[in-house]
Amino acid sequence: MQSQSQHQGPVSLFDGYPALEGTFDEMFEQGTARPPFARIAQLLSKMTTDELARAQHLAEAELLQQGVTFSVYGDARGTEKIFPFCLLPRVIAASDWAQLEKGLQQRLRALSAFLDDIYGEQKILAAGIVPADMVLGAAGYRPMLRGIKPPGGVRIHISGVDLIRGANGGWMVLEDNLRTPSGVSYVVENRLLSKQLFPKIIDAARVHRVDHYPTRLAETLRSVAPSIEGDVNAVVLTPGPYNSAYFEHSFLARTTGLELVQAPDLFVDQDKVFCRTTRGPKRVDVIYRRTDEAFLDPEVFRPDSMLGVPGLMRAYAAGNVALANAPGNGVADDKAVYPFVPAMIEFYLGEKPSLDQVKTFVCMFDDDRKYVLEHLNELVVKAVDEAGGYGMLMGPQASSDEIEEFRRRIIAEPRRYIAQHRVELSSCPTWISEHSSVEPRRVDLRPYILTSREGPWVMPGGLTRVALKRGSYVVNSSQGGGSKDTWVLKEQQ
């Protein structure tokens, strides 16, 4: 790439691509495309910056026109924004994917076994593999659910496991999202844009399709119906159009053909769930709920709340309705439980973990806390029960005031915090409109895993989130992150 410009050849898109020091760039190594991506890089490099700017503009206009947007909280005018999209794809080699797929399935099997155990016999606590006080004290642990078996035996129907790559390019799990992970609609929509913008390149690249996700989702939901008599009525439950992820809820309902309901549309009679329709009550068998579990049933979780469906948990406990995902999953994706997932894999499956994860210091343990408090300026500190890039300290970039604030918080509530060394997240070539140039930006990957009665299935793709701000490590959309289409390459024939 760089050599071309030295020879005064035609200017290529990636000329002078400024790789980040100490960072693994996924597409280029010392100015040359990595072998699996050589062809794609060559095809992309033929595009001019003008063409790219035009395509980027088209893509954004298209997203806005189609209403592929999220609602901005606290905006009375009901403003909606598009999730920033970078049109340059993030490409994953077939061999990498095969390893990820295997590792994710293994992880999901272990996490499912862990939840069954925690809401059952609690053997892993008795064996002392995971500290009982930590698990039973987790905010996501729901003692009232102990002994209740979910219909179909599935608890983590839909999950999104966040993956990152470190400075050596190795993949690691950063966190598990086992409650209501969002973003899958952008995976499907981003692919539609790629097909419009780069029809020839995507054709040449031989990329796994992602548009069958909704069909698999519907099958997964139907597979866990409490009763197989008659037609299964599965619905998608949304908090409503004001929710920031409403587009996705509506997208999923449309593409699965399921009805999109809100809590007031549902009611419980004799421990059975019904929907209020123009033809009277209609029985509901499966609910893909995109509401927080605290707002599922005011009788159980939040007596002060007007939200939710009174009696829903009674119907669930009676085995008359399946909830996807099952309530109570938060105990397994708690950030303080995360360090114990490799031990779970060995305990439940008798296997070695296929996927690495980030070394984590758990502040409720004395030794870990001591280390964390001594190294706050080197560490990333996270609250165990927050997401979206909130409740977080980026030690290396923080002011001394911020560091002292976190020191106080950790001492006050050690159970709430964990810490990790900052990972030099891998970078991908990213179109930066303000500079009209391609620059490296850091990325993560959220693949989506559907688990039916038959076990986990990994969608061949995922949401690549990219930290669009120069120098940023935070990919969350609430913190200036965007997304990319993720191309998982097929095996060479």
Partner: protein, 322 residues
């Protein structure tokens, strides 16, 4: 279908129809004002009265003064009817309402229809619409009309013809009955009480009214070119083949509701509304045999507007989860 979804379908239909009829009414009024046959307040005041926002306009725009110049100021009236966010029936509010309801049920609408709804909304809120309004008023109204018509056409040609579409059309038709009835009522009174009656002027006025309801050409075909107040009133009330006449809209609404809730499905909700709509249809049919001139027309139209109001309320209670 889910009652809340049916409610959004119904209101989506009403807002689409309302946006179209408001744009049409305003464009026809601009044209009428240019003819210069009527005093300005005779052109613009009826627009406010038909919209049902006379009290709002009086108190907020004219300071309670019935002689205020604003009643005859086309620019003031149009601004009120197009951009005023506090006027519940302004175009701005109708387009926002249409889009809000569509967004609440976007998985129910066809993607093509949703995209046009969203584009119209973004256009009307964006930078282009105010420029179009300021510089090419007629283009502005035409843009609204064409897109609302496109939406209704797309719904018909791309959606399942099932309950969701029936509820949308029920909204369109009931909104349209009221619009036709109120428009005819207000103008019938104004035109038959002109200070000096002149046949050419009167013909022009009736044709303008028909244009406001998209019925100019259709009327002339039916009447072989003869324009009379009785003829126009009969056409707008009783012409079965004209899709904006009261008789057509009431009958079609009844048919739609029969598809949703068949007359013999006694175990399903909606029976009271269906019966009320059936009675209104029979009543309208009976009236068409009578004379449709003089003060009786006002009573007829008032009855239609009141009944449609009651029917919408009953529909809300029985079927829309109200």
């Amino acid at each position: 279908m889910i009652s809340r979804v049916a409610d959004h379908c119904f209101w989506f239909g009403r807002y689409v129809e309302r946006a179209e009829s408001t744009a049409r009414m305003l464009a026809a009024s601009v044209s009428l004002a240019l003819d210069g046959e009527l005093p300005a307040s005779g052109v613009w005041r009826p627009v406010i009265v038909v919209s049902g926002e006379e009290d709002e306009f009086r108190s907020r725009i004219t300071g309670g003064n019935d002689e205020h110049a604003a009643w005859g100021d086309g620019e003031v009236v149009q601004r009120f009817m197009v951009w005023d966010e506090d006027n519940g029936v302004s175009l701005a509010r109708s387009v926002t309402g249409m889009r809000w309801n569509a967004r609440s049920i976007r998985e129910v609408l066809s993607l093509e229809a949703w995209e046009i709804v969203n584009e119209l909304h973004l256009w009307n809120r964006g930078d282009i619409a105010p420029v179009s309004y300021a510089q090419h008023r007629d283009d502005y109204y035409q843009h609204i009309r064409r897109n609302t018509q496109l939406i209704l056409g797309l719904l018909r040609s791309t959606m399942l013809h099932d309950e969701a579409l029936h509820f949308v059309w029920l909204g369109v038709l009931l909104e349209r009955v009221s619009q036709t009835a109120r428009t005819l009522d207000v103008h019938h009174w104004a035109f038959t009480n002109l200070p000096s009656r002149h046949e050419v002027v009167e013909t022009g006025l009736w044709l303008s009214l028909l244009r406001a309801l998209s019925g100019g050409d259709a009327y002339l075909k039916r009447s072989a070119g003869r324009v009379s107040s009785e003829g126009v009133a009969r056409f707008l009330v009783a012409e079965r083949a004209f899709p904006r006449s009261i008789a057509y809209c009431v009958r079609s609404a009844y048919d739609r509701l029969c598809d949703i809730r068949p007359p013999d499905a006694h175990d399903l909700p909606g029976g009271t509304t269906l019966e009320r709509l059936r009675v209104l249809d029979a009543w309208v049919v009976a009236r068409t045999g009578e004379s449709l001139s003089g003060p009786g027309i006002h009573d007829l139209l008032t009855h239609v507007v009141d009944e449609v109001h009651e029917i919408c309320g009953s529909l809300g209670k029985e079927l829309l989860g109200g």
